[in-house]
């Protein structure tokens, strides 16, 4: 129970408790937010409550790519102008937004909703890998692009999926690794520098 909850009317205490559960919100912030809502105009509070309810009732996972969506299949999976022969595999729905912002990919996506992290008990069965393999059955997809993060966990996930997908005769590629724009060579780690050198290009 957050600090000072004794003597607080029950509805406020409940709201404080609810805010306290949100990531990054401590007991004091939870109190501040709750008292803000208490003082806020009726319609502002109702809008917040409505938005929370809508997000839970109207947003679902796309049955094809598992992206979060309001319509099933999602807009990327429905778009006939997108190239169905390339599927880009990402960890989180937010990664799709990042790739779309970059604007360089016109294929389809697949969201794993996580990354292999055996030490924290996240094994392959916790990710949407089975759905990906299912998608590859009809032979339309010719290339799977592994766009997991270039971290230990992301690399392990990419290698694991590659081992499952390659036998199906589908080409598996991995996003290149190198220097981010604005980086300092001096501070760059050895693996990134080595890969950047290996992937150098003529200018």
């Amino acid at each position: 129970m957050p600090e000072g909850a004794a003597g607080t009317p029950e509805p406020i205490a409940r709201l404080i408790e609810a805010f306290h559960k949100l990531p990054g919100v401590g007991p004091k912030s939870a109190q501040r937010l709750a008292y803000y809502i208490l003082r806020a105009p009726e319609q502002e509070a109702a809008a917040l409550a409505g938005a929370i309810q809508d997000v839970k009732s109207r947003i679902k996972l796309c049955s094809v790519c598992l992206n979060i969506t309001e319509s099933d299949p999602c807009s990327y999976c429905q778009d006939p102008r997108r190239d169905g022969s390339a599927v880009c595999v990402v960890e989180q729905p937010l990664d799709i937004l990042a790739l779309e912002r970059a604007g360089a990919f016109r294929g389809r996506y697949h969201v794993l909703h996580g990354v292999l992290n055996p030490m924290d008990g996240i094994g392959p069965e916790h990710l949407h890998i089975r759905e990906l393999l299912e998608r590859l059955r009809d032979g339309e997809v010719k290339e799977v692009i592994m766009a997991t993060n270039p971290s230990l966990e992301g690399e392990a996930t990419a290698m694991y999926i590659q081992r499952l997908v390659s036998p199906l005769g589908v080409r598996v590629t991995r996003l290149a690794r190198g220097l981010p724009s604005g980086a300092d060579l001096e501070y760059t780690d050895d693996v990134t520098l080595a890969r950047a050198l290996e992937g150098r290009q003529e200018i």
Binding site: G24, P118, M119, E153, E155, D189
Partner: protein, 270 residues
């Protein structure tokens, strides 16, 4: 162990990462001078973070850390060994993650475990240079000894009697091998072959390269793996997630080998 100064320098192996807030992560490190500790790296998830690649799990890094009120904070990090071959190979990566999880589970925070740091480097170097994966059994035997769980392999762990050269019970409860007469008192365990007992004994007297040079066939490797997994599961009272992942990856490897064989046979008959 020496009290940590306000700002301290050490060398360590990054064991694991937990993301917090917008762009921060907490890393668990096993360090040479200060044992296991947690510290936070601010802004490390941003693309331009200077410490980013130097704090990847399974990296050996030189670290500068400032003592904080609740949590220490990394101020500088520089890679000593990136263990690239480990992170670019699924099997070796899985074994290395398993070793890191063992360290994380067994080592106490801010407690000195003499010899453990060198042992971790030994096993990571061995996996990096492509020595046989059974070096992980050496690592398990050694870490058990360092943590005070040295297995009794020379005589019966219950009656201290002589052990005949035959299949013998390895009992987690008794903490070692148990002779036939004491089996009833030693609780559950697993019968291990004479070959396996010899390998386990050898792990105590040799170093990592000596152990890696042992020729261990698939059957013996599987037996040793099962026996040690059960021992560790009993001692830690939990299943290790990374251990299950190692099994999963090995299963996949065996299935691929089988498919490859079938393909070759098919090729021969046509």
């Amino acid at each position: 162990m020496a009290e940590r100064p306000r700002v301290y320098k050490t060398e360590g192996i990054i064991l694991r990462r937990r993301n917090i807030g917008e762009a921060d992560s907490i890393f668990t490190v096993y360090s040479k001078e200060f044992g296991k500790f947690d510290a936070v790296a601010r802004g490390v998830r941003k693309a331009r973070s200077h410490m980013r690649g130097h704090l990847e799990p399974l990296t050996r890094s030189r670290l500068m850390v400032a003592r904080g009120r609740t949590l220490d904070v990394f101020t500088q990090a520089e890679t000593v060994a990136p263990y690239r071959a480990i992170r670019e190979d699924l099997e070796r990566g899985a074994e290395a993650m398993y070793c890191a999880e063992l360290v994380d589970r067994f080592a106490g925070e801010h407690i000195e475990h003499p010899g453990l740091y060198e042992l971790i480097l030994d096993v990571l170097d061995a996996l990096e240079t492509g020595l046989a994966a059974h070096v992980v059994r050496f690592f398990e035997m050694q870490i058990l000894s360092l943590m005070g769980y040295e297995l009794q392999l020379a005589a019966c762990a219950v009656c201290a009697g002589r052990l005949p050269e035959e299949e013998t019970l390895l009992s987690p409860v008794a903490g070692g091998l148990v002779c036939a007469a004491c089996r009833a008192t030693a609780g559950v365990g697993r019968l291990v072959s004479v070959r396996a007992v010899k390998v386990l004994r050898f792990a105590r007297t040799t170093d990592v390269t000596g152990f890696a040079a042992l020729r261990v066939d698939a059957e013996l490797a599987a037996e040793l793996h099962r026996a040690m997994t059960e021992m560790i599961r009993y001692l830690l009272d939990r299943e290790l997630g990374s251990g299950q992942f190692v099994d999963e990856v090995n299963r996949m490897g065996r299935a691929e080998a089988k498919a490859g064989e079938a393909g070759v046979q098919l090729g021969q008959t046509t």
